[in-house]
């Protein structure tokens, strides 16, 4: 550190005030690394040596602008280099080699599914978001991002720039998609964490993070007019230092506007906010671990979003798209103009003139302007002849339009500033970072444990319904406008009393007969002991929720968003590899392709008591097509004398469940997912949906069957009389597992009495059984097994526990 100040000065030749040429050809590895650290490039010694080689081939020295551009391009955030690494993996003693997790388990798997469903996925992986076909004219897309590190430092700003960023992803998907719904998923420490349990200085309390993040999402999402319809929150102490904030947005586009191309002779323009020093080094920042110091020194990285600026840009983009004035568009996210222009010009090449950029402050040097991540900017390629009309639209919607440069077909990205060329790079070199080599290891340590006997089932249920992982998210959901745009048919809170939980959300789509279902699944508790099972169960739950809501099980697509701690720690990377294998196996079995994904690494923190990593956490979010509005199915009990049936088999494993955690059962075996069997069930369920045989359906997840039944009955329509004697189960299933186990692939379904025969016939030979009925004569949840009364509790008491659990904190 001591002489690092001089490293840049030692090698800099200063042709002008605004940029410098850096003599790196003579530096050794150590000095190169020093330079990388001094410039905050987040490039390893190996990377820097590779850069040096490139410039030796070119027989010249880089400019500071070029080094910044390469760092941005190669940074973890932009290229997901760990997902492309060669990994030596060892699982339960067996060795294997993985050449690129992404290629092997995400891309190739999805390609096989695309091939089996021609015409369904219209675009995946190469654009800002993947598109699936809604009908002959329209497509929908979904993208999710994380904004973890900024949210740890300033939760409000971190969350609102997080949502702002993912909305721009959608605006930059195809030739501009219209954002129609958002999802938000968070992982925090428990809101009742005491201050002395936070073992580092200047770490924000989980409650402060939660409040800040929720308000950040609220103030940005609500102002943008995008309904926040879907979400989840996990509370676990491992997230105290590294909270996770996932923001996702779905978009709608006419299919004819999906393909885009930059051609020589086009103009490159930008619209939206101005460029300032506020947005420097975000991309490289999120590729490094947090420590107390980063809370003090990285203040520069904290930006606050301006939703109205983005709303004006969005209005402009959608109007320009509809007037067919856009040839190519992308968002200005991590890496700023350098990655937006890099993406746009990587094949075509062209010139960007930084003199045309409107600045928030004077005196910015070339590299600052080019990589600044100032918010609310979009970059477009347009025909020169369209400029006049575009300027009119910019005036109409009161957003600033600047001409950045030209695409010229040279294949070279050239940047000029004050009349000089400050960067000249062969674009094909920009996107080839060296492959990393990593080691991973995972050993399954779970064991079968004896299930506790159930003597006070009602008390167990109450304690589950009061658990932070299960209590109603109502106080937060109501802060989000989840009905703007007027298309939220299945709302996050619904049922006869309007406050019961729903599994998926369903959006009507303007101009289509079809609707879109959205859902999320995140089960970090499972992954602590069995990451593979977490992977399969997450995909299963996400899909099951959409299917339950009425989506066609054969027209679903999913996203994978990973967060993990330290990828250089073998065990942690091993858990990641196993998770990826799990989601891949499930995606393939269900025929639900990945169409987009993103990863966040280095979510670990150096506390006073050593490093704390988050558990490997996968968020699976999904979108699916609901064929007809009459198929939309909620999760809440609707009638008084209907039948309650269960679909799917209950197994003995208790691992990963909220019940197991409450009872202190550690390392209990986590349930596996029988994916082929599950898909068979979902297709049969869908058959019932199409025939109008389903009144309501709720997926069995956190808290198990008992919590699912209670939640369904929170609509207040009736009590429930349930007998578990005929519950379809595997072998040796304890009463505890029947009530509170979380085996995947199960649904609790309400049907009319007169339809039982038809439904039973459809499920012939499958794990399916009527369990009881909605009781008009009382308003208790009564669960028996033969003559044994396991639970008999008034629903209003249960509901009040569930409904008020979070209210006292938010």
């Amino acid at each position: 550190m001591s002489d690092s100040e001089s490293i840049l000065d030692q090698i800099a030749e200063a042709p002008a005030d605004h940029y410098r040429v850096l003599k790196i050809s003579d530096l050794d590895g150590g000095k190169l690394l020093e330079l990388s650290q001094f410039m905050h490039l987040s490039l390893s010694e190996e990377d820097m040596l590779a850069v040096q080689e490139i410039y030796k081939d070119w027989d010249r020295e880089p400019t500071d602008v070029e080094l910044e551009v390469i760092a941005q391009t190669w940074s973890e955030h932009c290229k997901h280099r760990i997902f492309g690494a060669d990994i030596d993996h060892e699982v339960n003693g067996e060795k294997e080699k993985v050449k690129s997790l992404f290629k092997t388990y995400i891309y190739d798997v999805s390609q096989r599914i695309f091939d089996s469903k021609p015409g369904f996925v219209l675009s995946a992986f190469h654009d800002n978001a993947g598109f699936i076909k809604l009908d002959d004219n329209l497509a929908v897309c979904l993208k999710a991002e994380t904004h973890n590190h900024p949210s740890a430092i300033e939760p409000y700003a971190g969350a609102n720039t997080g949502i702002g960023g993912v909305v721009r992803d959608i605006l930059g998907a195809g030739k501009g998609a219209k954002p129609i719904a958002s999802l938000d998923v968070f992982c925090f420490g428990a809101p009742d964490t005491t201050m002395d349990n936070i073992k580092a200085e200047d770490v924000l309390h989980p409650l402060g993070i939660m409040r800040g993040v929720v308000r950040g999402v609220r103030d940005y999402g609500n102002r943008m007019g995008i309904p926040t319809v879907s979400g989840a929150i996990q509370f676990d102490n491992s997230y105290i230092y590294n909270p996770l904030v996932y923001c996702g947005t779905a978009g709608l586009i006419p299919i004819k506007y999906i393909d885009k191309e930059v051609g020589a002779g086009m103009k490159v323009i930008a619209v939206g906010g101005r460029t300032g020093r506020d947005g420097l080094h975000g991309a490289t920042f999120s590729s490094a671990a947090l420590d107390t110091e980063s809370h003090e020194s990285d203040q520069q990285a904290v930006q606050i979003g301006n939703p109205i600026e983005e709303k004006k840009a969005a209005d402009f983009v959608l109007a320009a798209r509809d007037a067919d004035l856009i040839e190519f568009i992308t968002d200005c996210g991590a890496g700023g103009y350098s990655s937006a222009a890099g993406e746009m010009l990587e094949e075509c090449g062209g010139t960007i003139n930084l003199d045309n950029v409107t600045l928030k402050e004077p005196g910015m040097v070339s590299w600052e302007i080019f990589i600044s991540e100032s918010q609310e900017r979009m970059v477009l390629a347009v025909k020169e002849g369209s400029l006049e009309e575009l300027q009119k639209l910019a005036d109409l919607y009161e957003t600033e339009l600047i001409i950045l440069g030209d695409a010229d077909g040279s294949g070279i990205l050239k940047v000029t500033h004050h009349g000089e060329t400050v960067c000249q790079l062969d674009c094909s070199k920009l996107h080839t970072a060296p492959t990393r080599h990593l080691n991973a290891k995972w050993e399954l340590k779970t064991e079968s444990v004896d299930a506790p006997a159930i003597d006070k089932g009602g008390e167990d249920l109450k304690s589950l319904l009061s658990d932070f992982s299960i209590v109603s998210r109502e106080p937060i959901i109501r802060e989000y406008d989840h009905e703007v745009q007027g298309n939220t048919i299945l709302k996050p809170l619904a049922g006869a009393s309007g406050d019961a939980p729903q599994d998926a959300s369903v959006m009507r789509v303007d101009g289509s007969e079809h609707l879109m279902s959205m859902s999320v699944s995140i089960l970090p508790e499972w992954g602590k002991t069995d990451p593979y099972a977490m992977g399969t169960a997450c995909v299963d739950e996400c899909i099951r929720q959409m299917v339950a809501s009425g989506a066609d099980p054969d027209r679903l697509a999913i996203l994978d968003n990973f967060c993990m701690g330290n990828p250089d720690a073998e065990e942690e990377l091993g858990a990641l590899v196993e998770t990826v294998k799990g989601i891949a196996a499930a995606a393939e079995s269900y025929g639900a392709p990945f169409v987009s994904g993103k990863d966040s690494f280095y979510n670990y923190f150096e506390t006073d008591e050593g490093p704390v990593s988050i558990p490997v956490t996968i968020l699976i979010s999904g979108m699916g097509i609901v064929e007809d509005a009459s198929h939309v199915t909620g999760s809440s009990l609707r009638c008084r004398d209907s039948l309650i049936v269960v679909i799917g088999s209950t197994e003995s494993e208790l691992g990963g469940s909220v019940y197991a955690r409450q009872k202190g059962l550690t390392n209990a075996t986590v349930p596996g997912t029988d994916m082929d069997a599950a898909m068979g069930l979902y297709r049969k369920y869908y058959e019932c949906v199409k025939q109008g045989l389903i009144l309501s359906a709720h997926d069995v997840s956190e808290g198990g069957l008992a919590v699912t039944l209670a939640e369904a009955a929170f609509s207040g329509k009736a009590g429930l009389e349930i007998d578990l004697s005929s519950l379809p189960t595997g072998e040796d299933v304890s009463v505890a597992a029947m009530l509170f186990g979380e085996s995947p692939s199960r649904l609790v379904v309400e049907i009319a009495l007169e339809n039982l025969e038809k439904v039973a016939e459809i499920f012939e030979g499958q794990p399916f059984a009527p369990l009881g009925r909605a009781a008009g004569e009382h308003s208790n949840l009564k669960v028996t097994r033969g003559d044994d009364v396991l639970i008999d509790e008034p629903l209003d008491e249960l509901k009040s526990l569930w409904k008020n659990g979070l209210a006292q904190y938010y």
Binding site: E154, T194, M195, L204, H205, Q299, V302, Q303, I304
Partner: protein
Amino acid sequence: MRKTFEISDRYIEPGHADELLYEPLGGDLTFRRTRRYEIEFKRGKSKLEAFIEKTLRDPISQELHEGEDPALDDFSFVLEYGMKPGALDLEKEAILTYYRGIEDPGFELKELSIRQRIYVFGGGSDKSDRFIRDICNYAIHNWSVIQG
């Protein structure tokens, strides 16, 4: 010239101070919020005052308190905070954008600073650190405390 004033809400009841904190203090501490504006300007004092009345104050629901001293009385302490230089203040941005769009404002706005004030009542004057910790964030804010 400089003009300083504070705007308070007539109808917003004091809230329980624990709402602002991560860990409840208990007790009967309450709080109210106000906004304090500092304007540096040239020319046209009366035009500026009209601008303020029209733009910043709602005559039905708000009261405008002129000058430097705190608008409310009998407080234990006031936590005053705002966006530090370089951090985006959305209200300020909105006001300045509107001001720049006025054809002939009749005055020249040189500088505008907006500060949030949280008045805490009912004791706890030694607890201001807790409020700072849970309300302010040095990543975007700067702040000061006025003891009652």
